[in-house]
Amino acid sequence: MSLSKKESAIVHGFEMRPTKSGDGAENPGDIEYWSLLCFAFAFIGIIVKYKICLWISVVCCVAYLANMKAKDAGLRQIVSSVSLSLMGLVMAYFGPNSHMFI
């Protein structure tokens, strides 16, 4: 078997499954459901003033951070979902209208 090993056959930059398609767009299977859920629950929680929705959004945010791909871990990505869900919680407990949250 080792006879087939060949230095000249090395393909530089070989990638069987390209992480990004040719035009730079991400593969369609890569939608981050946790992030979407986090945003959705945070918005619902803030608008309808339900604390439980805000807490669910925080849990979704934690799950999103845990399932994040190593190459995607950028400041902008993290800050957007974390800040929104935590902001909701702060509004519910420390904000001037905190008594309105159920």
Binding site: V11, E15, R17, A63, I78, P96
Partner: protein, 412 residues
Amino acid sequence: MNKKIYFILIGILLLGLISVSLSQPTEFNEVEVEEDIEYEGTGVENKYQSLNQDGGSEAPQPQEPEIIATEVREETEEMKKKRELDALPFFKRQKHWYMEITFIVIIIFYVINYFIGEKTNRDLVKLWGRKFQPIFEQNFAKVGNRDVFTIIKINASTFTFICTGRENCNGAQVTLDLKKRHDLFSVLLDAFGFGSPDKVTIEVALTKDVMDPLIFAVVKQKALAKFKSDHEDVNLFCSKYNQATGLSSSFGVLCDTDCLPSLFLKNEVVSTLNANENLFESMYFTDHSLINTKYQKALQFIFKFPKVSDIDKLVLLTKMAVHFIDIVAKVELPKAHKQKAEKLREKAKESVVKQAHQDRQEELQKKKFEKMQKEKEMVAKMTPEQQRKYDEKEYKKQLKKKASGKYKVLLS
């Protein structure tokens, strides 16, 4: 990971600061309200005092002011109660904290599980790396992205590793899809039996000039229908091979020409597959691969990741996968079968072209029809005079068309 924690901590700190700054103006508002009410109360008394002074001959009426004063007092008492409640710190206002405690416990469990699960996956990958490094180093000139044997982490449960530098192939990619042990919800799903097992996928990209046109797959009988629907080429060209191959009954063989099983399923391979029946998922050789359009000739092997004690079984299967690179590259189909395979591909190509042409025609017709309908609607909305003008225009257009046609005829 350290980075993530760092960002989260910064976020919490920032939000804490914002919350402190938000809580200060609320106290200030309350103080303002108190002052206003006191002033109102005194205002009522002042009003009646001034009435007494200016009333002159009329005697003062002591009853009315008393009633109003008591109302004001009641209001102020209610307001006072409210104010007292509002003045309490937020953690004393809430009656119970069950929901908050539950969610905090869930988050704490999630974080603890993340670290434990991630470490377990990492250890499994390390073990795999130690066991399989010599096999890949023997067969490929360059193992890993750099000069050292490196396994790249895609996320906490997916790891990948690339090797290249071998005859007949551009390279191979090994992907380790482990259970999502870092995700508490996946762990719970797995506990109820809905999780997927640990998998090892080996994908090899063969060079263009090797390998005859062939599509061949060995899949578990249960997953046969799903495999067919997932792989378009298998669905188009292959049929199930029903003759005896020596494989156990849990395997199903798919091929485009009948000679393939006898060429690939030699005694050694059959015995290896039968011995590791529970670890094997699928084996798939194709010249129409959709994994990467750059490398259409590809091999794909999917195995389950065994228990740590049984990892030697996986070594045998991996060696078989590497061994198949040369076998598939050098295989020569009998002439009749090769012609049949080529004909099949030509037919498929023709049908694809036909289908595309038909689709285009249909689309054109649809557009024409829509345009006609729009024009009709437009004419229906017009006044009689506008319609007459429109008809004249159309008639002129048609005449012009005819005239230009005549010219063309004359010129030719």
